[in-house]
Amino acid sequence: MESWRNAKALFAGVGFPPAAWLLVFFVVPLGVVWLYSFGTNTSLTEIEISGTFSNYARALDPLYLGILWKSVLVAAATTVICIVVGFPVALAIVFAPDRWKPWMLLAIMLPFWTNLLIRTYALIAVLRREGYANQAIGWLHDSLGALAPLVGLPQPGAYEPMELLYNNFAVIFGLVYVHLPFMVLPLYAALDKLDKSLIEASLDLGAGHLRTLLLIVAPLAAPGIVSGVIITFVPALGAYLTPDLLGGPDSQMIANVIERQFKRANDWPFGAALSFILMYATFIAIAFQAMKNRQAEARQ
């Protein structure tokens, strides 16, 4: 095969547009925001880049660190639930008959065709006090309750709807619902390449299903799991619509605080500093993944 070094013009021709795009629409705006994080508000509309670190100092206040920590916990819980739910789903698709696979993958991707906001409003309709979830459970409660006297049990009281919305449960539920496809797809990609004879060998040699799953399948699917974790955890960490719409009085996440700095508080430098703290955390997570990958390659 010819090396790209022999086709420099072609390479430059193909490579230039995306590189320019990335530079103009990603690196430059991000650089401007980065500069803002060292700035001070001089009037309602002007920011002076004064090189101050005071925005970062304020962002490291226990108040904001506490919110950041809480966001990390929420994002981590979301990621763990996504793995636990997503792994069996990915396995099911891998072992499904070939003609079903495209349809199952389509079903996983279908939610992407609807705007996140609409999906979140739909969740409100499901979870609210008189929503579909409470209606369904209430119906079960009433119909089973009506049967209770027949088997000699006392008739239960009226159904009291559960508070499913406007709390941290609703936020994590909403985040899992939104991010599950991001976990299933890389897991599927990793598991699909797996040599199935290894699983058969493990089962033949006497390992149980769970043991096979944990000792054979999971380590081989590790790169997929790591990618899935990163692309679930990072956006969940920056989520702001879900906590805004589904959360209760204490469900704010760091992105909600950042949003308020850019809008209501009109304090762009502080908002920029908070965003960059989040960004540094993200970079560290990605660097960690790259390191893991390199280790994995070195082992092979």
């Binding site: 809480k70 409003y121 719409l245 605080v257 308020r260 508080a265």
Partner: protein
Amino acid sequence: MNAVTTQTTLAALRQSIGRRSLLQGLGVAAVGISFGGLAACSGGSGGTASTGEEATLNFYNWDTYIGETTLDDFAESSGITVNMSLFATNDELFAKLRAGNAGYDVIVPSNDFVERMIQANLIQELDQSKIPNMANVDPTFIDVAYDPGRKYSMPYTWLALGIGYRKSAVSARPDSWKVLFDSPEYAGKIALLSEAGDVIRLGAKYLGHSVNEITPEIIAEVEAMMIRQKPNIRTFHEDNGQDLLLSGEVDLVLEYNGDIAQIMTEDDDIDFVIPGEGSQLNSDNLCIPVGAPHPLNAHMFINNLLDAEVGKKITETILYPTPNAAAKALMPDDYKNNPVIFPPADLLAKCEYASYNAELQPLYEEAFTRIRAA
């Protein structure tokens, strides 16, 4: 029973798509769209209007905030085509104009943002001789604190914050802010507006201070009170309090009178009260941003919107309280005499417009962040 519930859910979903709620979430997307949209549609109409300017006008408005035929009627009478684009929050409007006017001629900021935009030199003085219909405006809306003598803005609508509540769920008429801010009586049945400034100012009002005489000490006092009250609060809503009330999610909400008046037509069990301590008024205003490409058309358009007949048609559609006395006179009695849309004068006398204070705004936000993190 099921059919009724489904209907309520549908009504609730429809209600939630109000002026300040759905678009707000889509805000990011909307910014992108209207950037390109404006450039695309401004070149279209070519001809010259009676003002001597190109026969076109770019109007930047809230969603569902104009009469059904208002723009067409104006185009017919003046020959000027109006391109309307929409914003969802004052912050969005401010953030966009702060980067330079992209070609808007008429905008509709709320009172505190009128002040803020005057301070930031983003809106221009109006030529009142070109707006004779200013005579239709109720005199109490002319000399307002945020724009004395109406040099920069013309009033379009006004609103008052108060308590929307479910009559069957309260023991007595909730005519004090105490039920929302300082009492466990309705624990878990309360939703407050997710606006730092409004919540802190109304908390101060409850404690006996004017909304415009707030000090950092008062903010700290209100913050402590709200942190005590937080376990009783179900959620901070994104100006969709009427939806939460209608769907039975909560029994008391901090909301605007116009929003509650809309759902009262669907549910007899809902009412609205302005607490006896007084409240905060808001008003949306027509302004011309600095750098507007068609200032003469803009004056003509603002004058047209203040016309009695035009104002009546707008009010019929949006059902907000109108500051236009001549338009109000043309409205049916059930609007004019609605105590929710037009609260009693003695209560209104205790209400104030909150002025914009650049020093306090970050303190409000930080206090609110602490309340929510507590």
